[in-house]
């Protein structure tokens, strides 16, 4: 084992906006890993369908949306079959929504840990977000099947997909950091999150294409919602929708990175009272 006699811990009150201390998060990376691994392991224990829930969730949603928004409301879908159009949007959206739902309750759920052991508290919401990735990859398999079924050949733009996934995760993390920290003090958050996530979905072009908005200026304004860039980017990268959402993605990326910075700062600021109030 590593006997680190040079370890010196200074304990003193921190004032104002604390340093990010990401180095410390790195030290506790294994905790984040194990917490994410625990989430994944436990999620489908004692269920009949097991991990297939990860596939069924977006699949059933796709079917319902296709029926309501595709067939009944006849929303446009950029010339693509509606099921594959909406699924390409649901894929990153579900990743985002699950991450926010889980992570915003993660600190409160891990209250006992906050009170009893010290490690970088950032590891807790981070691990919740990371654990959503597995579901995402499972759901992605269905995307492959749908593309094969509708004979959609992915374009070379698919290389941008990891960057888009990262963008979705960053956005989710930024939002979750603020919400989870707030939730420690105010359990109002727990009641707000489902409603917030649902509203956010309809504000994001998941069931409709961004092209329903004619004005490019308004489109840019909408792109302040980072999930706009992500969802449009997914369709562009996977389905070859001809409107490259370059500028929108740039704006979204900028907002996402800002949100994660603000989120981390706020989290660090509130962190010092977590153990006292959770």
């Amino acid at each position: 084992m590593t006997t680190s006699s040079d370890d010196v811990i200074e304990i003193r009150p921190t004032k104002g906006w604390a340093a990010l201390s990401l180095g410390e998060l790195w030290r506790y990376r294994e905790v984040a890993f194990f917490l994410a691994w625990r989430d994944v392991k436990v999620r489908y224990k004692q269920t009949v369908f097991g991990a297939s829930w990860a596939i069924m969730q977006p699949l059933i949603q796709m079917l319902v949306f296709t029926l309501i928004f595709g067939r009944v409301a006849k929303l446009p879908s950029d010339g693509l079959p509606y099921p594959i159009f909406v699924y390409a949007g649901l894929l990153p959206w579900t990743l985002f929504a699950n991450s926010v739902n889980k992570a915003s309750n993660s600190l409160v759920g891990g209250g006992a840990m906050l009170k009893q052991v010290y490690f970088s508290r950032l590891a807790i919401p981070l691990s919740s977000v990371a654990s959503s990735l597995l579901d995402f990859f499972l759901a992605f398999l269905v995307m492959g099947a749908l593309m094969a079924y509708y004979s959609v050949i992915p374009t070379a733009n698919i290389v941008w997909l990891p960057a888009l996934i990262l963008l979705a995760l960053f956005t989710a993390l930024g939002v979750s950091l603020v919400l989870s920290a707030l939730n420690v003090q105010f359990r109002d958050v727990k009641h707000v999150v489902p409603f917030l996530v649902q509203t956010w979905m309809f504000a994001t072009p998941v069931v409709y294409p961004l092209s329903v908005v004619d004005s490019p200026n308004v489109q840019m304004l909408l792109a302040l919602n980072p999930m706009v860039g992500v969802v449009e980017g997914f369709r562009w990268a996977l389905l070859g929708v001809d409107t490259a959402p370059g500028p929108a993605v740039m704006i979204s990326a900028f907002v996402a990175i800002t949100s994660i910075l603000v989120g981390t700062l706020y989290f660090k600021r509130m962190e010092r009272t977590f153990a006292d109030v959770v």
């Binding site: 084992m1 590593t2 006997t3 680190s4 006699s5 370890d7 010196v8 811990i9 200074e10 304990i11 003193r12 009150p13 921190t14 906006w17 294994e30 905790v31 890993f33 194990f34 917490l35 691994w37 625990r38 392991k41 436990v42 224990k45 004692q46 891990g110 006992a112 840990m113 906050l114 009170k115 009893q116 052991v117 010290y118 490690f119 707030l182 003090q185 105010f186 706020y266 600021r269 509130m270 010092r272 009272t273 153990a275 006292d276 109030v277």
Partner: protein, 449 residues
């Protein structure tokens, strides 16, 4: 290494607690306050001031200006009543919560055992939980790999290691959790009452493990209410009361001071005339506990004799008096009672007017490691049989632990030793037809007189 392992300088922690509601508000004031409150909370929230946001504006110092230093390898107990700030101190030192002011420096890898089984998930198997818990406590995966067999063996979980922990008994969970924590190999360790988990056999194993960690050169702070365990394990104790450091010093002295204070008794009590004003025949002036050198003490080594002394002033001649002591254990069970039957004035003797001092000697190696409140009763025996004066729990004596050498009744540390007394008994063994008295003093046996 000359540097201290732990330096704590004026460490303080303030909590905000809810202000008690003002009941004298008018209806109008109440309504306006109810309307304003959410906005005030939001304002507090936006400025990052969580406590203002939560309407908590009463200050409460859980810890106030506590300073001490510990050398590497020292084992220190923290004693004090519930709410004295013991757990707060450990939480601050393990960085679970931040101090309000003051600072502390800790040199070395920290392991804290504030509660066992943190992060255990019932759906995961024992094996999986060992890794999870290990990482939360600060072990790398490789360290857990290296220690895994040892952890499982210590926990006595055996073949159930791959069973989900929800099927474990609570005792099994606790054993596994403690086992992980005990194999941390920290250089600085904080232990909070975790030794009171599991059944008797496992508790003993835990306390031995903590002791062996302490003996391996680890710097340890222990919070415990078990005076026996604390005095056996530590050399030094820190006494906290209302968040402040009351005393810091040799463990037996601190623990006995703390125990006497917590039951509100010391080794001496002197009475004013007012307290004994209804006495007609004799007044009790003072009750004291003295060691064999005549010092007034409130703690005594288990091997040493001590006396309980009462100073009497006889006011009227021609009465015969009897003094009786009742010694109770700290959990209020009778240990023994004694009358001064050896006094030649017993029953028929008449006492002269003036001051008398009566002493009852309690032999060494007789009482248990415990705190004994002493009640005093003064009887008039003749001409009338009645209680002249009685005082319950007037003074107390704390009998301190001594485990080494042949004079220790149990020889070894068995943790809590039962019974109100702990005399050294004479043992003998019969082998075949011969009756052999065991008088090998070196082995802890006492010769037959």
């Amino acid at each position: 290494m000359t540097q201290n392992a732990i330096e704590v300088v004026e460490l303080s922690k303030m909590y905000h607690i809810a202000r008690s509601k003002d009941l004298n508000l008018t209806l109008q004031e109440r309504i306006s306050q109810a309307v304003r409150a959410p906005f005030q909370r939001i304002a507090g929230l936006v400025s990052g001031n969580a406590t203002a946001a939560a309407d908590l504006d009463q200050e409460f110092w859980a810890l106030k200006d506590v300073s001490f230093t510990m050398e590497k390898g020292e084992v220190v107990a923290v004693v004090g009543r519930n709410g004295a700030g013991k757990s707060t101190l450990l939480k601050l030192l393990s960085r679970i919560t931040e101090p309000t002011s003051g600072h502390a420096t800790i040199r070395g890898r920290v392991g804290s055992l504030l509660e066992v089984g943190t992060g255990f998930h019932p759906e995961l198997s024992g094996r999986e939980n060992v890794y999870l818990n290990g990482s939360i406590l600060g072990m790398s995966r490789r360290e857990v790999d290296a220690k895994f067999d040892e952890i499982v063996e210590f926990s006595e979980i055996g073949k159930f290691i791959d069973t989900p922990t929800k099927h474990y008994s609570s005792g099994m969970r606790v054993r596994l959790a403690f086992s992980v924590a005990a194999h941390l190999e920290p250089e600085v360790m904080f232990v909070d009452e975790v030794l009171s988990v599991g059944d008797v056999a496992f508790r003993k194993k835990c306390s031995e493990k903590v002791q062996s960690i302490a003996e391996s050169g680890c710097t340890v702070i222990v919070v415990s209410h078990n005076a026996q365990a604390v005095t056996a394990m530590c050399d030094r104790a820190i006494w906290l009361a209302n968040g402040q450091l009351v005393a810091d010093g040799e463990v037996n002295r601190i623990v006995s001071d703390y125990l006497s204070q917590s039951i509100g008794l010391s080794g001496e009590r002197v009475y004013s005339d007012e307290e004994t004003q209804h006495c007609e025949v004799a007044k009790v002036r003072a009750v004291r506990v003295r060691d064999k050198r005549g010092n007034v003490v409130n703690s005594i080594d288990v091997r040493e004799e001590f006396c309980v002394e009462t100073e009497l002033e006889v006011l009227k001649p021609n009465h015969s008096l009897v003094l009786k002591y009742d010694l109770n254990t700290s959990d209020n069970m009778g240990a023994f009672a004694s009358l001064d039957t050896k006094n030649p004035t017993w029953q028929q003797g008449k006492w002269d007017v003036g001051t008398h001092v009566l002493r009852m000697w309690v032999p060494g190696n007789f009482l248990q490691f415990d705190t004994y409140p002493i009640s005093v009763t003064l009887w008039e025996w003749q001409p009338e049989r009645r209680v002249e004066w009685a005082g319950r729990d007037q003074v107390c004596v704390h009998v301190t632990n001594h485990l080494e050498g042949p004079t220790a009744a149990c020889g070894l540390d068995f943790g809590v030793w039962p019974g109100p007394v702990r005399p050294i008994m004479q043992w003998e063994m019969e082998s075949g037809s011969r009756n052999v008295p065991l008088d090998d003093a070196a082995n802890g046996y006492v010769a037959r007189p």
